[in-house]
């Protein structure tokens, strides 16, 4: 028994970093990270756009059975952009839309970590202008159900 946070983040990063369409949208990035970060942290002075992903919530699971533990997990993928001719919320939504294509209703393969994920569903994506007036933030949240 364990909590599948690291397994989910690892699988999510692999899916995003391996997608050539998302690579093309991450104009500040290059292989292998493509300006997509998570548990290793975002580098200081990271240029925009970038993605910061994490698992802010894991809790008792809908898929808990008498024989197998289950965890429900929120996967949050934050898209951050800055104002500019190719930036702003237009760029943020282009990246966010690709992330939705990559994750909504497309379960992660967590088998290498001993977990299974059979349910992943879009939950929210608020548009959040930041206090500095030039940074845009869209945190996209997906709900996952896991067992293991």
């Amino acid at each position: 028994m364990a909590i599948p946070v690291l397994a989910i983040e690892t699988a999510a990063f692999a899916r995003m970093r391996g997608d050539t369409t998302l690579q093309g949208l991450m104009t500040s990035g290059s292989a292998p990270n493509w300006s997509i970060y998570g548990f290793e942290g975002v580098p200081i002075n990271q240029p925009f756009p970038y993605i910061a992903a994490g698992v802010p919530m894991s809790q008792a699971g809908t898929a808990e059975t008498l024989s197998t533990p289950g965890k429900d997990v929120k996967l949050q993928i934050s898209v951050l952009t800055q104002t500019g001719p190719d930036g702003g919320f237009a760029q943020a939504w282009a990246i966010a839309n690709r992330i939705d294509d990559l994750f909504n209703r497309k379960a992660l393969d967590l088998s290498a970590s001993g977990f299974s994920n059979f349910f992943i569903l879009f939950e929210s994506a608020p548009e959040l202008p930041q206090a500095d007036g030039i940074t845009q933030h869209i945190p996209i949240t997906f709900k996952l159900m896991t067992q293991g």
Partner: protein
């Protein structure tokens, strides 16, 4: 005193532990024959008669679970169903209710934003033993 945590329970069909059960409820009950006679008393009297039971199982639907939910579903759909043997335990096999049962009904439920479930009722046939 030793209370039991629900997650310690188990359900077996034959020798196979059902892997997708989230809840079970056994409801044995006995018929009560009224034996009240005209007397000076206002109190009714009864004699216990036949007993029987059903089991309500809450199950997550898994199409690959051939020994569990699919076996129970086949008990309804089969042209020649055979009675199934079950063992329910509230404490991982230390104490057990054992009985034979038919699958009386299933409610297979597929909500768009949640897990697919198959709530199932077992009609017990014959005696229930507890050990």
């Amino acid at each position: 005193m030793s209370f039991l945590a629900g997650y310690g329970g188990s359900v077996k069909q034959g020798a196979n532990t059902l892997a997708t059960v989230t809840d079970w409820e056994l409801d044995p009950s006995s018929d009560m024959y009224e034996t009240t006679v005209i007397s000076g008393s206002r109190a009714k009297t009864y004699l216990p008669g036949l007993y029987g039971a059903t089991v309500a199982l809450k199950v997550n639907f898994d199409a690959t679970d051939t020994n569990g939910v699919i076996a129970m579903q086949n008990n309804i759909f089969s042209a020649t169903p055979t009675v199934l043997a079950f063992t329910l335990s509230p404490n991982g096999g230390t104490n057990n209710y054992t009985f034979n049962a038919w699958v009386k009904d299933m409610k297979i439920h597929d909500p768009v934003n949640n897990i697919v479930t198959a709530d199932t009722t077992l009609q017990i046939t014959g005696a229930v033993s507890y050990s």
